[in-house]
Amino acid sequence: MQDTIISASGVTKKFGDFTAVNDVSFEVQRGEILAFLGPNGAGKTTTIKMLTTLLKPTSGHVSLDGHDPAHEQSAARRTFGIVFQDPSLDDELTAMENMQLHAVLYSVPSDIRKTRIEELLRFVDLWDRKDSLVKEFSGGMKRRLEIARSLLHHPKVLFLDEPTIGLDPQTRNHLWDYVQKLNREEGITVFLTTHYMEEAEKVAGRIAIIDHGKIMTIGSSEELKKQTTTATLEEAFLALTGNAIREEGASSADTMRQHRAMWGRGGRR
């Protein structure tokens, strides 16, 4: 009956002395929506990177639709679509060109390429802007384009790493409705991370609360509330992770963005 599509057992990832993910184990069933909820620096993105072949675990084993992302990379990569936490579009290309590039990389047959790109761009309300360069887009428009792009090859698993950051409530609702529809109608498994409790509660069947690289608990929102004897998911979350504010070092990417903002496009030389 149970049909596991994502599994992690005893997964640890260390960067030097720092342990980003510490002995994490979980399973996601086919067709399920699982939310990873956790403070900044809890290990959410690192977990996603290990599942999506971008990082190799220091120890432990992950599996994606029967493939090991650390070793059978191509097979694993064919199974998923991903919206990264930070932008991953080519600013110098148009929305259409970004979509086409993705379609080629994922060998979407050319006869369905055109209709599917149109359908998705219409869905995210960017069809009118298809020939505009992405660098002219607002943050929300870029996000919508990335979401459309991640769905282009009809993945079995969709990873959404804080996909709604910077989106207005309208777009956010629109996005989650669509994700739920995809999940219902196409049976796509969704693995998402978010900071927003109400999103996790509304969308996800099960929620994993992760902190300091460890999964504190995993279960439905009802179960989490019962377990912590709290009334709301937010209280449950705080009961499990404490009130301390987390610090996260500025990555070199942030520094670079500042440089670019300062120097404009000339910084590219």
């Binding site: 072949t53 097979a75 990264f84 600013d91 110098e92 590039l101 080629v104 990389l105 520094t255 670079m256």
Partner: protein, 248 residues
């Protein structure tokens, strides 16, 4: 194959849309051509070496290709910083194909930039020895473009951000240029510098260009082509290995 093509096309589109970059990278070769070409001209002539603009033009063409090529290769760092690299890294295609597409795209851009400079040198008074040797000159321009884009790509794979960029410029790209025979003849150089210039791969590219455009060869076509070709292949292999190991 489709992967290589689409990433090649991407490099070309990015280049054609970046007018400031196109114009900006003309400045330096132009300065060398005019300031050195005409400034040192009289001395060069007195030393019995002939017309300096004639001598320096192939070197300036090589220089523009060298700089554009290394920059194109190093563009991977920008993609890493601004996120697009991840999109290609999670795609179900071989990383070698991604790396090849980018490198060929960058090399095409560098070759094109070299052609623009070629035209400019002719406007500035440079005259190739024989127009029939132009195809040979293109072979060398393409080889220089390929070799140094592959070098830039390989370097970019091990750099996290642009912090190391000035080091690359000052300790690699500039020496490659100044020690290549682009500015002075390699003939009759004193011992150590003669050895160093022979270790510089660009020397063989500049030599080939000199041979094709001005009819004076220090080495020989087969040696020049073999050295450039072999080093390009080695750098492509190293780059592709490094690229396949990138984790973000």
């Amino acid at each position: 194959m489709a992967t290589i093509y689409i990433l090649w096309l991407r490099q070309l589109k990015r280049y054609s849309r970046s007018k400031s970059r196109m114009i900006g990278s003309l400045g330096q070769p132009l300065l060398f051509l005019l300031a050195l070409g005409y400034g040192f001209g009289p001395i060069f002539e007195k030393a019995g070496q002939g017309n300096y603009v004639q001598f320096i033009a192939p070197g300036v063409i090589a220089m523009s290709i060298l700089f554009t090529a290394v920059f194109s290769g190093i563009e991977i760092i920008w993609d890493r910083q601004f996120g697009f690299l991840k999109e290609t890294l999670v795609a179900p295609v071989s990383r070698t194909a991604i790396m090849l597409g980018r490198t060929l795209g960058g090399a095409t851009v560098a070759l094109f930039q070299g052609c623009i400079i070629f035209v400019i040198t002719i406007i500035a008074g440079f005259r190739p020895e024989t127009w029939a040797a132009i195809p040979m000159a293109f072979v060398f321009m393409a080889l220089i473009a390929l070799l140094f884009t592959a070098l830039g790509t390989a370097i970019a794979c091990v750099l996290e951000d642009m912090q190391g960029f000035p080091i690359i410029m000052n300790f690699l790209v500039m020496p490659l240029f100044f020690l290549s025979g682009a500015l002075f003849p390699l003939k009759d150089l004193p011992g150590p510098i003669a050895i160093i210039t022979r270790l510089d791969p660009l020397s063989y590219g500049v030599d080939g260009l000199h041979g094709a455009l001005t009819g004076t060869l220090q080495f020989s076509y087969p040696v020049d082509i073999a050295v450039l070709g072999i080093i390009s292949m080695v750098l492509l292999a190293i780059g592709s290995w490094l690229f396949s190991r990138i984790q973000v």
